[in-house]
Subunit: 473 residues, 2 copies
């Protein structure tokens, strides 16, 4: 399989052919999201934003530029991001009095405003999100969707009266992200990052690492409890019921839109092209009339009838009745774009009022009555998602190799697997792991409790955590 053998080439080809992204924009690390890609993104954001709206989040939109002094307020944060921000220094011919940076993430854009908005306990919790592009000057090689200097995400930022409420928020967001990923059929490890790899300014970080055919994990989402690190720096405080003033406890989280698209392409696609979960497919059903001259009129009319029927059912349907391609060429074309269900109608279908449906994952075909076609399509949608989910989750399982022995670590990482090992939590052992394997400790699972049943893979002392080691984007 080309996808697993030569992932990088396979991936670039799909992005180009299915018009997801055009990577030829004349600035490195910046790409154009084409029509198909943009529509997929809109559909993903719709699911996510609906979830956020229903849990009391407020959509907002903050400026792309952040003044230097606000950015510098939280010391860990500027240490973490300072070397990779883009600076706006001039406007027209004049030098700006105050340099501005393009947001690499929006804590330092939002929190000066939070300080104005939060006055009393009645203003809490404050829950805000925005879907925007962010900017990071990646010095490693850039890769379309995976590692860009401009990438799309949805970021959430909250303020709470105490640690417990912030913890409740972390749980809520983990559920929201899990729900969205489930509806996309994605498989991932939900990991608490080791302390040395947490977000710059956070108390702790949880991340969703999706598997990828090349063995590198793809961080598609992160959730951070910020404690009061930022609220102290930005003086975000409230008056409690007892009259005392307290700093809020904050969380923030990022849903990596560009990377989620990468995961959908990489986990579900096959050597024919993209495969899209029905909920996010810009076109869910493509109708292809199989037309012979003498009955062309009847078949085309039947195809249009089918189009109208599916459309009123709220299905995103497209009728491909162009005559510049043969039906075979049309099959091939729409397979590249990953349209979940194809409906063929030929003279016989028309005469018997049947429709021939095929689904994109296993290319299974079903002939159904015209009257039942909408139900049959919807059943197919459910099965397609289940099949995608199962297939992806099987691959993830097959990639994880429990490893008691340091000497095999390198081989496992080299063979594009994820090593599962026991670790004592010492930074020296973490560094050793990276050194000998080329992979990094991504963290321990928090969705299931895993107790170490062996000593630390490096030092042999008592292990504290079962952790996962992989290369990452």
């Amino acid at each position: 399989m080309k996808k697993f053998k030569n992932f990088s080439e396979w991936f670039d080809e799909i992005l180009f052919n299915a018009e997801v992204v055009d990577n030829r924009y004349p600035v490195k690390g910046f790409a154009v999201y084409k029509s198909w890609g943009s529509r997929i993104i809109k559909n993903i954001l719709k699911i996510l934003e609906q979830n956020l709206d229903e849990t009391g989040h407020s959509p907002m939109l903050f400026p792309v530029v952040i003044p230097e002094d606000a950015f510098a307020k939280e010391s860990e944060h500027i240490k973490g991001f300072g070397s990779e921000v883009f600076w706006v220094t001039h406007a027209g011919e004049r030098r700006l009095d105050k340099r501005l940076l393009l947001r690499p993430t929006s804590e330092t854009a939002m929190y000066p405003m939070f300080a104005l908005w939060v006055r009393s306990h009645a203003d809490l919790p404050l829950k805000v999100y925005q879907s925007v592009a962010v900017y990071r000057y990646e010095t490693k090689a850039t890769r379309p969707l995976f590692r860009m200097r401009e990438f799309l995400w949805n970021e959430g930022h909250t303020a709470h009266k105490d640690w417990e409420d912030a913890e409740r928020q972390v749980k809520e967001v983990i559920e929201i992200y899990s729900d969205v990923f489930k509806r996309l059929g994605l498989s991932y490890l939900m990991l608490k990052r080791p302390d040395f790899d947490k977000f710059a300014g956070a108390a702790y970080s949880v991340a969703f690492d999706a598997w990828n055919p090349d063995g590198r994990v793809n961080q598609i989402g992160t959730v951070h409890n910020l404690g009061d690190n930022f609220s102290k720096a930005f003086e975000i405080a409230y008056e409690d019921t007892d009259g005392t003033h307290k700093n809020v406890i904050q969380t923030c989280y990022g849903f990596g839109v560009s990377r989620v698209v990468a995961a959908v392409v990489a986990q579900h696609g096959d050597d024919r092209g993209l495969i899209l979960p029905p909920e996010i497919a810009p076109i869910q059903v493509v109708i292809i009339p199989i037309v012979y001259k003498e009955v062309a009129h009847e078949v085309n009319a039947y195809a249009r009838e089918l189009y109208e029927k599916l459309k009123v059912e709220g299905i995103r349907v497209h009728l491909d009745d162009s005559d510049d391609k043969t039906p075979g060429e049309k099959f091939y074309y729409w397979e590249i774009f990953g349209v979940p269900v194809r409906a063929e109608v030929g003279p016989r279908d028309q005469k018997e009022r049947k429709v021939t449906l095929s689904e994109r994952v296993n290319l299974e075909r079903r002939i159904v009555d015209f009257e039942n076609v909408a139900e049959a399509v919807k059943e197919f949608f459910v099965e397609i998602l289940r099949n995608l989910e199962e297939r992806s989750s099987l691959v993830l399982k097959s990639l994880i190799v429990t490893t008691p022995d340091a000497s095999s670590l390198n081989e496992i990482i080299e063979s594009k697997k994820i090593a599962r090992v026991c670790w004592c939590e010492n930074i020296e052992c973490a560094e050793k792991i990276r050194e000998i394997s080329g992979g990094e400790i991504r963290g321990h699972r928090i969705d299931v409790e895993e107790k170490p049943e062996a000593p630390c893979i490096i030092c042999g002392r008592q292990a504290k955590k079962v952790v996962y080691i992989a290369r990452a984007y």
Copy 2:
């Protein structure tokens, strides 16, 4: 009326109180769109983008940065925008090899890609849009929503095989924008700009100038026929059916999202607060139970029943059953936010299964049966839009003063009106008009033909156009 007497203060107060925009962001000309504002914007974009999708436009997303060399390719364009672009010069500690600018508009981001995408006549027309923020270093005083250094818009860019097809496109877009503005109840003048005021690089420009209570017109949309100015500079050419290579003819257009929100606030709002056209109101109906202790349970249950009934009808409804405010305070609160319809339910309504509806424009009340409440609400929606539209269009008519006499020009502009005059089309007379009146020639109407019936207001020679003069944002 405060709105007409002291527009600027009235406007800022509404934006703040109705949580449309918070203007306290610590960079001049950049503001935060708060929850209510963001939701209004989403609803406006939904109408616009649906129109664009249905007319064969492709949604895309281009980078925010443009390399200096691409920006410099079309000479008129760089002359027009060069002095007001923000420059990104550094990343982290290093100086970039090639300076990047933040898009002030996206011709020079898109057209290098168009040159790659357009090969043959079969690739045409190419119709692309994106909804994004753009960046212009305004040197005049900035004003929230009206004149920002970061503002939101939707921009469309197209390529066509010939001038005729481009002209057809201009007409299509004018229809689309007119439809959206109609659904928002806005009144404006649709004007062809004089040559000296056309878009930098265009053959001609058409603009939508909305009226504003302070007499300044607010350009909420523009449509440009670019001819082959850009396609020559960017070498966008196609092979025609006869084998010859031709430059495409292009159009581009901008729908000023931030300014459309400004127009909705400014034209429809009153001294109580915002008034929102129902289609874009984040909450279309607010239910306020009038509760007395002894019957609280029944009334609240009835209010919830009403909530469910309206919700299943697809109406965006909110039940305000909080007990921290009196009903009167709630009325006042939701009037500020411009919710189009209020539904009160008290003990008597509950007993008789009635609902008391009031609408926001004229505060008209109607008592309706519970069974018919959804229809009654929808009727109110239609009436509200019609009332807003009529009221706004009457104001626009009252603002226009036909002026045969140059000596009264200044007085008309000073009294916050729009002068309608005859003009010979000479630039000297246009400059004179600006000098004596403080207003500018905004152009002549293209939706109706107006023949000059007097000589040029300045030089007395034969007039060629009836034009409109106003101050502008």
